[in-house]
Symmetry: C2
Subunit: 352 residues, 2 copies
C-alpha cells in the first residue's frame, strides 16, 4: 500500500480512525440526549462519509446545493434535507426530479420561495416537506418573528403539494440560549394556531455538544464535527489530536532564520480563518506559526526552538476544514502513514 511519503504536496490527509471516532462520539451524544443527527455533508462532500454517518445512526444528511444532493442521491443516500431557498425554474425542475427519488425536505423564508415551490410541487399524495427558516440571531436568512413563521407555515399547510415540516435555524455562534427561546416561542405560537412543529432543526458543531433533551430542538445538522479543525479546537470541541484533516505540505524556501515558506497557500488552506489569528497550526511545531498566505505560498514565522528545513514535509491543521475540502479534487484516507484510499471529492465545487 502507498504511504504518505508517496503523495505529492500539497495534499489532504484524512485520519480515517479519527473521523470514525468523531462520528461515533457525536452520534452517542445525540442518542443519549434524544436528538436526531442529520450531518451536513459540506464538510467532507464525500458519499463515503455520508454513508458512514447514516450507518452510525444519522436520520439522513443535509446538503446546501441541489448538485450536492444529486451526487449523494446517486450514491444511494435516501433522506436529504436542503435548507436553502430554491428559486428559478432550472433549480425547481431539478428539485422535483430529486423529490421523485429520495425523501426530500426543504426550507423557505419568504412567500416568493413558497410560490415557486407550490407551483412546482402539486401532488398531494407525495407532498414536499417544507420547514420555515428562522433568523434566531445569526442575521442571515430566516423570518424575523414568530408571527412571520406562522404566516409562512399556514401558506405551506394550505398548498396542496407541500407539507409543513417544522422550523429550521442556524443559530448565531455562542447564542444558543437566545435561539432556544426564539424557537420555543415560535413553536408555541404555531401550536396555538393548530400547527404542530414536529421537527425543529438546528445547526453548528459546537452547539450540538451543548444541547440536551431539555431543548426544543429535535435535530442537529453538524458539519465540522467529523473532521474538526483549528476553530473547533479553539471552541473547545476537541483537541488537535481529534482533528482528522490535515494538509500535507513541503517547506520550499527558508529565506531568513525566522521565515520559512510552505507550498500550501490560500489555494490549499483558504483565506477563511473564521476570525482566528494565523492560518493554521503546524503539527508538532507550536513555535512555527502560519502567519501569512498568498495563493501558492504559506509564510511560517519561527520563534524559540522551532526549526524547519527546505524539503521537509509538515502537516497543517487548517482553521476551517470545510472550505479546504472544497479546494482539493481528492482526499487521502490514512491509517498512520499508510494511504488506505484516495477518494475524489465528488460533491466539490457544485455551485447550483
Amino acid at each position: 500500500m502507498p504511504t504518505v511519503h508517496d503523495l505529492d504536496t500539497p495534499s489532504i490527509l484524512i485520519d480515517a480512525a479519527r473521523a470514525e471516532a468523531n462520528i461515533a462520539r457525536a452520534q452517542a451524544h445525540a442518542d443519549r440526549n434524544g436528538l436526531k443527527l442529520r450531518p451536513h455533508i459540506k464538510t467532507h462532500k464525500l458519499p463515503y462519509w455520508a454513508k458512514k454517518q447514516v450507518a452510525a445512526g444519522a436520520v439522513g444528511i443535509t446538503c446546501q446545493k441541489i448538485g450536492e444532493a444529486e451526487v449523494m442521491a446517486d450514491a444511494g443516500l435516501s433522506d436529504i434535507f436542503l435548507p436553502y431557498n430554491i428559486l428559478g425554474r432550472a433549480k425547481l425542475e431539478r428539485l422535483k426530479a430529486l423529490h421523485g427519488r429520495v425523501t426530500l425536505s426543504m426550507t423557505a423564508d419568504s412567500t416568493d420561495t413558497l410560490e415557486g415551490l407550490a407551483a412546482t410541487f402539486t401532488d398531494a399524495g407525495h407532498p414536499l416537506q417544507v420547514l420555515v427558516e428562522c433568523d434566531t440571531g445569526m442575521g442571515r436568512c430566516g423570518v424575523q418573528t414568530a408571527d412571520e413563521a406562522l404566516a409562512l407555515a399556514r401558506l405551506i399547510d394550505k398548498a396542496g403539494g407541500l407539507a409543513f415540516g417544522g422550523l429550521m435555524t442556524y443559530p448565531a455562534a455562542g447564542r444558543a440560549t437566545e435561539a432556544e427561546a426564539w424557537l420555543a416561542n415560535a413553536k408555541q405560537t404555531l401550536a396555538a394556531s393548530g400547527l404542530a412543529c414536529e421537527r425543529i432543526s438546528s445547526g453548528g458543531t459546537p452547539d450540538m455538544w451543548r444541547s440536551s433533551d431539555a431543548s426544543v430542538v429535535t435535530e442537529y445538522r453538524p458539519g465540522t464535527y467529523i473532521y474538526l479543525d483549528r476553530y473547533q479546537v479553539a471552541k473547545g470541541v476537541g483537541t488537535l489530536n481529534d482533528c482528522a484533516l490535515t494538509v500535507l505540505s513541503t517547506v520550499v524556501s527558508h529565506p531568513t532564520p525566522t521565515r520559512a515558506i510552505l507550498d500550501a497557500g490560500s489555494k490549499a488552506l483558504s483565506s477563511d480563518t473564521l476570525g482566528l489569528k494565523d492560518f493554521g497550526e503546524l503539527l508538532g511545531a507550536p513555535d512555527a506559526r502560519v502567519t501569512g498566505l498568498s495563493e501558492e505560498h504559506g509564510t511560517v514565522t519561527l520563534s524559540g526552538d522551532a526549526k524547519l528545513r527546505i524539503g521537509e514535509r509538515v502537516r497543517v491543521v487548517p482553521d476551517h476544514c470545510c472550505v479546504v475540502t472544497n479546494l482539493f479534487n481528492e482526499v487521502n484516507l490514512i491509517d498512520g502513514e499508510t494511504v488506505l484510499e484516495t477518494l475524489p471529492v465528488a460533491a466539490r465545487g457544485l455551485m447550483a
Copy 2:
C-alpha cells in the same frame, strides 16, 4: 445562442471584449516601454486566454504549478516560466518531461532547490534556464542580499545542465522603487563577477503600469490585468467598466428591509478581500454593499435608495478575481447578454 438568462447561478461571466481590450492595452504599454510581457495564467487558468495573450505579443506565459504548465503545454503553449522552488523527485521528474517539450525557465532561491535541479538536469546541450528569486521587500521567498544572489548565480552557472537566466522578484505592493534599487544593485554585483542578467522579471499588475524603459526590469508577469477586479480598481488600474469578470448571483432571501441574501458566498466569491472593506461590488447598486459571506450565502446591506427583490439576478465584481476563478469548474464568455462559449477552467485546482 444562449443568453445569461439561461445560466443558473452562481456562475462566472467573462466579458470577452473587455478581457481582449485589457490584453491589448497592457501589451501596448509594454511595447511602448520596451518591456516583455509574460502573463501569469493563475488569473484565468484557461488555454483560451493564454493563447490570446501570446498572440497579442506576450513572449510566453507564467505558471505557478507544474500541473498548470502541463495543461498549458498540452494546449500548445510553448514558452513557460515557473517561478517556484521545485523540490522532490515526483515534481522534478515531471519538470524534466516538461523541459523536453517546451521552452522552460525556473527559479530557485536556495542551494537545496539548486541541488535537486542540478541532479535532474544534466544535458549541457539543452540546459534548463534558472533565475534567482530575490526578496526585494515582499517578505516571501527569495534571497535577501545581492551577495546571496551572486552565490546562487555562480552555482547555476557551474552546473552542467543549468544555465543562469537572470533575476526574478515579486515586489511588495507599492514598493516598486525599492525593488528597482535592489535589482539594479544585484545586477551590478553579478556583472562585476562576469555574470550578465539578461532577464530581470518582475510581477504585479499595478507595478507594470508604472514601469518604463528606464527600469532595470526587462519582463513583467501581470496576472490580474486581463480581468481586473475590485482591488485593481481601488489601486487605480481601471474602472468597474474595465472589469471583465463578474459573478452572476440570485437574491434568495430578503429578511429585513436593509438585508438581502445572495446565493454567492465564500465558495463563489472567496474570503480573500486583499484587505478591502466588503466582499465585492454589486454592479449598478452602489448602496447595496456585500458586507458578509458564509460558505453559501452573501449578505448584502442596503442603504439609501437601494432596492433588491427576491429572485432578482445581480452581478458582483469580486475583490480578487484570481481566487474566484479557482472556485468554479467553468466560466461563460459573454458579449452583452449573449453567452458566446462556456469553457472548463482547465488548470483549476491543480495543487502540485
